[in-house]
């Protein structure tokens, strides 16, 4: 069994890849997907700690994060559809008005 640091580094890598995606991509859907990736990276951390300490709390919180990700995806995609309907685009750069 390898030490927990491996999991932490994996989690860190995924988090950073997700962050790069959020910063560099213009397509809102891919930005949303990158956010999912970040949440997922957090989950790895939580579950790894839960395993190494033998405490279930980490898994409970991972579960909450999954629920949260679902909520975020639903609302995010809802916003995106509404946006697409009005502006016919999904590029983040075009979202420059607070109201339309």
């Amino acid at each position: 069994m390898m030490p927990i640091g491996h999991y932490l580094l994996l989690s860190l890598l995924l988090l950073l890849i997700g962050a790069i995606g959020v910063i560099t991509r213009r397509n809102v859907i891919i930005v949303l997907m990158s956010i999912e990736l970040i949440l997922n990276a957090v989950n790895i951390n939580l579950v790894a700690f839960s395993r190494y300490y033998g405490d279930v709390a980490g898994q409970v919180f991972a579960l909450f994060i999954i629920a949260d990700a679902a909520a975020e995806a639903a609302v995010g995609l809802g916003i995106m559809i509404a946006f697409f309907r009005n502006r016919e685009t999904v590029l983040a750069d075009e979202m420059d008005l607070l109201k339309w």
């Binding site: 990700a69 679902a70 909520a71 995806a73 639903a74 809802g78 559809i81």
Partner: protein, 463 residues
């Protein structure tokens, strides 16, 4: 390294064997399910069905497989090649992987120690829609994409129903582990279909929809969408989709049989005077074997003769295993039992015997699928959605609550099990009737219009 591999194999040989068996045998079984389906269809439609290849068309699946394998491998020019390649593989992988969680007999399981049991099966088979939706999208064809979108919406909706229906079974069993579920039905002296009939029937309907079978076969409705998401597929890739569909049928059948029909238990496993039922498999196999031998001589082609002999041999072999062990049970002579080969046979007996009853139940389940397919017309998409979201999901939810109430009545108030089951089932049915009536009223008002607006609403449940 080699040592490690050897140790690994030694620890996990049953699982490995089962995995290999699944990968090798399921395509064959799927082929034969197709044959049976064609025969059943032919029987219902007053004709004969395949008769040419082998006796009564018994070798037809093999001929079909060979044909599919040697067909030209077509990828449309404008298709997304990577995903076009990836999608059927994903479908097939999901279907076969989910089989790993199913116990075909007491020890006939890949994931024996997995404590999420049936949830694994349900979860992994939930990956199937991806294969369909991605394949439909990658084909770059309007029929395909309509089929793909239909199937996504349909599978998501009906997975919810199936999940709730399974929860009612899980509540009764108190566990997710497959072997424990079957044991629970043994110790409870009842199949759960009798305690939660509504759960079983909602699962039945939802599982038909989940496997894209008629009357819910809208994603591949041939009269509208040509072949739905499979329109552009041919040859081997197409056969992967096809296999995945039939493998999924086996999976849902197996889940239903495990949870509601007592898994690998024989009917009335606790009733002693029905012990003679144990002899049925032996008898059936022996009769099949004799029939094969009788027919073998009449086959025109050498291969067919050999095939019949092989089938007969397998039947006789299994019948022998069963027979010897049953004989041992009857005589119960220690000298006979202690002989080495008898012990070996006994160790195989449990698995094969369980597998026999289990597969029998799965076949019955699949037969219901076929029966409905050849009897009923196809639903329209909005009707399908309305059935799913307005009737089945509320019904399944109410059923979960009802089963909870039933368990509470039994455990805290000490009610008789049958009385509690009867009351809660009746309650659920009343709710179901109200739902249908309400929905009819609603549907009459909204007929002609469809659920386009609703699909988005409905999909937000998906997470």
């Amino acid at each position: 390294m080699l040592q490690g591999v050897l140790a690994f194999v030694q620890t996990w040989w049953v699982e490995l064997l089962c995995a290999v068996l699944i990968v090798l045998v399921v395509p064959l079984i799927a082929g034969y399910i197709v044959l049976v389906e064609r025969k059943v269809m032919a029987d219902m439609q007053a004709r004969l069905g395949p008769m040419r290849v082998g006796p009564h068309g018994l070798l037809q699946p093999i001929a079909d497989a060979v044909k599919l394998l040697i067909k030209e491998d077509l990828i449309p020019d404008d298709a997304d090649k990577f995903i076009f390649w990836f999608a059927p593989v994903l479908s097939m992988t999901a279907a076969l992987t989910s089989m790993g969680g199913i116990a075909f007999g007491p020890w006939f399981q890949v994931g024996r120690d997995i404590n999420i049991g049936l949830l694994f099966v349900v979860g992994v088979s939930a990956l199937g829609p991806f294969g369909i939706v991605l394949g439909g999208w990658a084909s770059n064809n309007h029929y395909s994409i309509i089929g793909a979108i239909r199937s996504t919406a349909q599978l998501i909706s009906y997975e919810t129903t199936a999940g709730f229906a399974l929860v009612s079974g899980f509540l009764l069993a108190g566990t997710l582990k497959v072997s424990d579920i079957v044991k629970a039905q043994y110790t409870d002296h009842v199949w759960y279909v009798f305690l939660a009939p509504v759960g079983f029937f909602t699962y039945l309907i939802a599982s038909i929809a989940e496997t894209n079978r008629a009357p819910f076969d809208l994603p591949e409705a041939e009269s509208e969408l040509v072949a739905g998401y499979m329109t552009e597929y041919s040859g081997f890739r197409w056969s992967l989709y096809f296999l995945a569909e039939y493998a999924n049928m086996i999976v849902v059948g197996a889940v239903g049989a495990t949870l509601f029909l007592g898994g690998w238990l024989r009917p009335f496993p606790n009733v002693a005077w029905l012990g003679w039922v144990d002899g049925l498999p032996t008898l059936l196999l022996a009769v099949t074997g004799v029939y094969c031998v009788m027919r073998a001589g009449k086959q025109p082609v050498h291969v067919q003769v050999m095939f019949m002999w092989a089938v007969a041999l397998v039947c006789f072999l299994v019948a022998l295993i069963f027979g010897v062990v049953e004989f041992a049970h009857l005589t119960s002579s220690a000298a006979f039992l202690s002989q080495h080969p008898v012990q070996l046979l006994r160790s195989m007996y449990d698995g094969l015997y369980g597998a026999f009853w289990f597969l029998l139940k799965v076949s019955a389940y699949i037969y219901i699928f076929m029966w409905l397919r050849f009897t009923l017309p196809r639903f329209r998409f909005d009707q399908l959605m309305r059935l799913g979201w307005h009737i089945l999901i509320p019904l399944a939810l109410v059923n979960v609550i009802a089963v909870g109430i039933m368990l509470a009545l039994m455990s805290s108030l000490g009610w008789n099990r049958w009385l509690a089951a009867l009351l809660t089932t009746l309650g659920t049915l009343v709710v179901g009737m109200l739902l249908i009536r309400w929905n009819d009223k609603h549907a009459a008002a909204a007929s002609g219009s469809i659920a386009t607006d609703n699909t988005q609403v409905e999909d937000s449940y998906a997470g």
